[in-house]
């Protein structure tokens, strides 16, 4: 007798959802930290450093996320580290997020009018104060819609952890679908869960984008 899609199965999906949220948070926090470093290196003014970070970003933007996960997952295994699946995929998503957030923030830093940096230099502020007090606060504001947009991408992207066998929402959906033989219902519910997670963020991001573009028109 095969189980029907009931409360127990729904609870299993909810636990998968928890892992999706946790994975997203870890990758986002880690990606923000490393991404800030990437963005600062990319705008530091040294030609060779900027080139290397550009290549770093280009590699992540020019290859599929799935393959990046495979490389990290199997690559870490080769080093002899006994990591469980969560740590491996979390590292993969963090590195990926650092490249994408780095690119978003590089653009935002460069979008801050040059006069601001020049004025800060004229005031005798050194690099760290110039960045922390003048440039970054403005850059963060400019980059917020794109950053939220990337967060939505990241939530959707974590579904790929299912393919390397980590049980998050999409993998939980596969398992329940195989148990109950009700794939349409199960994947419909899984899709709805992702939608409920992502749609408010998308809406928030696009509203903020509209507000920012209005502000810049004035």
């Amino acid at each position: 007798m095969t189980p029907h899609f009931g409360l127990a199965e729904f609870g299993f999906l909810l636990r998968g959802l928890q892992w999706t949220v946790l994975l997203t948070l870890v990758a986002f926090v880690g990606g923000c930290t490393a991404g800030l470093a990437v963005a600062l290196l990319c705008t530091c003014g040294h030609r060779s450093v900027e080139w290397i970070t550009r290549i770093y970003i280009g590699i992540f933007q020019g290859t599929p996320l799935l393959l990046q996960l495979f490389v990290v997952y199997y690559g870490l295994a080769l080093t002899g580290l006994k990591l469980d699946a969560f740590v491996a995929v979390a590292i993969g998503f963090t590195v990926n997020a650092s490249a994408f957030l780095g690119e978003i923030w590089r653009g935002a830093i460069q979008a801050v009018p040059r006069g601001q940096t020049e004025a800060a230099m004229a005031l005798g502020l050194h690099y760290s104060s110039r960045m922390r007090d003048i440039v970054l606060p403005q850059a963060i504001r400019i980059s917020l819609p794109a950053t939220i947009g990337y967060l939505v991408q990241l939530i959707k992207g974590t579904s790929l952890a299912a393919i390397v066998g980590f049980i998050e929402l999409a993998r939980a959906g596969q398992i329940v679908s195989n148990q109950t033989f009700q794939p349409l219902l199960v994947f419909g519910v899984v899709g709805a869960m992702y939608f409920i997670l992502c749609w408010p963020l998308s809406w928030w991001g696009s509203r903020m984008e509209a507000r920012l573009s209005l502000a810049s028109q004035r």
Binding site: G62, T63, P64, L67, I163, Y194
Partner: protein
């Protein structure tokens, strides 16, 4: 750890991998063609006067853009047979890529159409151009120029997304890589090399698109 990297398996498998690249490009091309058709039809339907049609298109775009491609392809993989479409995995993958890309194409094309000011069209008529000329010179070319970067970017994204179609074992580069991996157990070497094949594909596409853009969409400066 006594593991030594051995890339010779990749070298031996290169012909199969290159055919996988062809499969990936074919999948992306077919998917993008379908996406463009959905995009154009969707834009027309989204600006129609029928309220429920507009709502359907907006709903479609929001749902597709806020759910993962993996879940979409699984859903289609099981749903299509129910509506009488008994398709092989590759055809299913093309439909999934087309539906996914179509939602993004609707937004991109709509942005391009909206970027043409009404005054431009009126100015065209005032200059004595007839309808076809106004469409060709004032609407179509500037709109194409406006959407070209996002549309080609979307195409590259679609090419990379097609790797997920290996989950329903469509024929493309990643599924070929998975087969080689399960034959040789050289996971890292195979996936590492295949990642660079994807990088080569997307860089070549980018280069090609830039050449086309330079040839057809650069503003005449003379």
């Amino acid at each position: 750890m006594g593991y030594t990297l051995d890339f010779s398996v990749v070298w031996h498998a290169m012909p199969a991998l290159l055919w996988g690249c062809v499969g990936t490009l074919g999948l992306a091309l077919a998917g993008m063609t379908l996406a463009m058709m959905i995009g154009v039809a969707g834009v027309a339907a989204r600006d129609s006067k029928v309220a429920w049609l507009r709502a359907t298109i907006i709903g479609f775009v929001e749902v597709v853009r806020n759910t993962p491609f993996l879940v979409q392809i699984f859903f289609l993989f099981f749903a299509l047979p129910l509506v009488g479409l008994k398709l092989n995995p590759t055809a299913t993958a093309i439909i999934a890529l087309g539906v996914n890309g179509g939602a993004y194409a609707i937004e991109i094309i709509r942005g391009g159409v909206q970027s043409i000011h009404k005054g431009q069209i009126e100015a065209g008529y005032a200059l004595g151009l007839h309808k076809g000329q106004v469409f060709r010179f004032i609407v179509l070319k500037p709109a194409l120029r406006a959407i070209y970067p996002s549309l080609t970017g979307q195409f590259i994204m679609l090419t990379l997304t097609s790797s997920i179609c290996s989950a329903v074992s469509a024929y493309e580069l990643t599924s070929v890589a998975q087969r080689i991996e399960s034959d040789t157990f050289r996971s890292f070497e195979v996936y590492f090399s295949v990642t660079f094949l994807y990088l080569a594909i997307s860089w070549l596409l980018m280069l090609g698109f830039a050449v086309v853009s330079h040839r057809f969409f650069s503003y005449p400066t003379r």
